[in-house]
């Protein structure tokens, strides 16, 4: 899966499933402070990522993931690893 394909899937579920305003979805957006993804939302992000990308997010791997672009990169690294 290319970077662009990952970005497209992630952006789509942020809008369609987490109902985040499209205009807020920019690479540098902070997941928590800008996109409003709180701890309960994150439980749903784990489910959605598993559904679209086939792996389970491990919270300890997310400690350095603060922005959306870092989140794309994290998914890409997991995809490449598999």
């Amino acid at each position: 899966m290319t970077k662009e394909e990952i970005k497209k899937i992630v952006d789509n579920f942020l809008v369609e499933e987490l109902e985040i305003e499209e205009k807020k979805i920019v690479d540098e957006a902070l997941l928590k402070d800008d996109l409003g993804i709180d701890s309960l939302d994150f439980v749903d992000v784990v489910v959605i990522v598993e559904r679209y990308f086939g792996f389970k997010i491990k919270p300890e791997e997310m400690t350095n993931v603060a922005t959306l672009i870092q989140f794309y990169e994290y998914i890409e690294s997991k995809q490449n690893a598999s």
Binding site: E17, L18, D41, V43, D44, V46, V47, E50, K56
Partner: protein, 406 residues
């Protein structure tokens, strides 16, 4: 001194209509809301008969966080409550600044439990259940969601008492206001209608098999009844202290004047005439009235041979001399179970407001017990000043409410 308790708002989401106007029309015209769900047969049910309740679409109305913990019955209850609050002239701004409590009847939330189990069976990982499953699965799902959405700050709890849940919820709201503990309480009952919710009830062979004629399948008190039809939705009522309602300039629709309870202390599924009589007598004592003062009885009668017979015996003992008009609105709605005790109060208030008695449709041939009662088979245009509503549930829980025109 005890305070007076009135109803200032009504809201409904049911198989005979999804607002007060539609439901009034259905009650007046004896319209059935029962149909066939073919998926039930495929799933393994004995009977595919059910009340056909539309699913509300809340996307775009409520944001995701407020929706995600709501099971189907919570969605029904939300829609009913929006209507009830509007009719009571209460908005969110008022609720931010004033205290309202909630007692809502609910006794299951099967679908989210079963769906969560399916995920666990396949994935074997709780972290893939999502954040909403816990809030949807608990019996108190309706009250936890409504209290969050509507910013309720008073008493907050779910009443689980089988098919009397909704009635007890109103009864408890009445007691809290009567004793000065609350001025405003949202009361009601909700019942899920999904495939998973009624399978274990179908297992008892308690459901009608009159599959070729769904609108004739629920026939309380009729000699040819062959079982109940499961149904659901939600009914919301705004209970308010009388002076508080007057001060607010709220529309006052009816007054609650009596609540009587009892437990049969006997069989888990069989009703009891003796237990029913105790609850009815207690409600009349609380209301300080006698049987001749009651103009209409909304019977619990679900269309099961045994349950209807026991209720008929009880009613005949107490109301035989006054020949009080009786109907079971379950003939049109089916058995709305956890919701029924609340919805049937709402149905009877609509009759009282519009001066008619809704028909007990499909009552064609009396049996030896119902022959002694004054069952209204065709709508009667008639003034109702006081009515009584019976609700009985598994485990022998009995709840009786009496309401008065105001």
């Amino acid at each position: 001194m005890k305070k007076r308790v009135v109803i200032t708002g009504l809201g409904i989401w049911s198989c005979i209509g999804t607002n007060i106007e539609e439901v009034t029309h259905s009650l007046y015209n004896g319209k059935s809301g029962i149909g066939i769900d073919p998926l039930r047969t495929e799933y393994g049910y004995r009977s595919p008969l059910t009340g056909i309740v539309p699913r509300p679409e809340l996307k775009g109305i409520l944001d995701r966080r407020l929706r995600i913990g709501m099971a189907e019955e919570g969605e029904y209850a939300y829609m009913a409550t929006v209507e009830a609050l509007k009719n009571a002239e209460i908005d969110l701004e008022y609720l931010e600044k004033n205290e309202m409590g909630i007692f809502y009847g609910n006794d299951s939330s099967a679908k989210p439990v079963i769906e969560a189990h399916e995920v666990m069976r396949i994935k074997k990982d709780t972290s893939l259940l999502g954040s909403g499953a816990i809030f949807q699965s608990m019996n108190s799902t309706v009250t936890m969601n409504l209290s969050t959405i509507f910013k309720l700050k008073g008493v907050n709890m779910t009443i689980s008492a089988a098919c009397a849940s909704g009635s007890h919820a109103i009864g408890l709201g009445y007691l809290f206001i009567q004793n000065g503990m609350q001025d405003l309480v949202l009361c009601g009952g909700a019942q899920e209608t999904n495939l998973y919710s009624m399978a274990s009830f179908d297992a008892l062979s308690a459901f009608s098999m009159r599959i070729d004629e769904p609108d004739k399948s629920s026939r309380p008190f009729d000699a040819h009844r062959d079982g109940l039809v499961p149904s659901g939705g939600a009914a919301s009522l705004i209970l308010e202290e009388y002076e508080h309602a007057k001060k607010r300039g709220a529309p006052i629709l009816a007054e609650i004047i009596g609540y009587g309870v009892s437990s049969n202390g006997a069989n888990i599924s069989q009703p009891s005439d003796a237990g029913s009589i105790i609850a009815i007598e207690r409600a009349m004592k609380d209301a300080n009235i006698s049987s001749k003062d009651i103009h209409y009885i909304n019977a619990h009668a679900t269309s099961t041979p045994q349950g209807d017979a026991y209720e008929a015996i009880a009613i005949d003992k107490l109301f035989g001399n006054s020949k009080t008009p009786i109907s079971s609105t379950k003939s049109m709605t089916g058995h709305e179970c956890w919701m029924a005790g609340a919805s049937e109060i709402l149905y009877a208030i609509l009759m009282m407001q519009n001066s008619f008695i809704a028909p007990n449709i499909n009552f064609e041939t009396p049996d030896e017990y119902s022959a002694k009662l004054n069952i209204v088979a065709k709508r009667e245009d008639k003034n109702i000043e006081i009515f009584l509503s019976n609700s009985f549930g598994f485990g022998g829980t009995n709840s009786v409410l009496i309401m008065k025109k105001i």
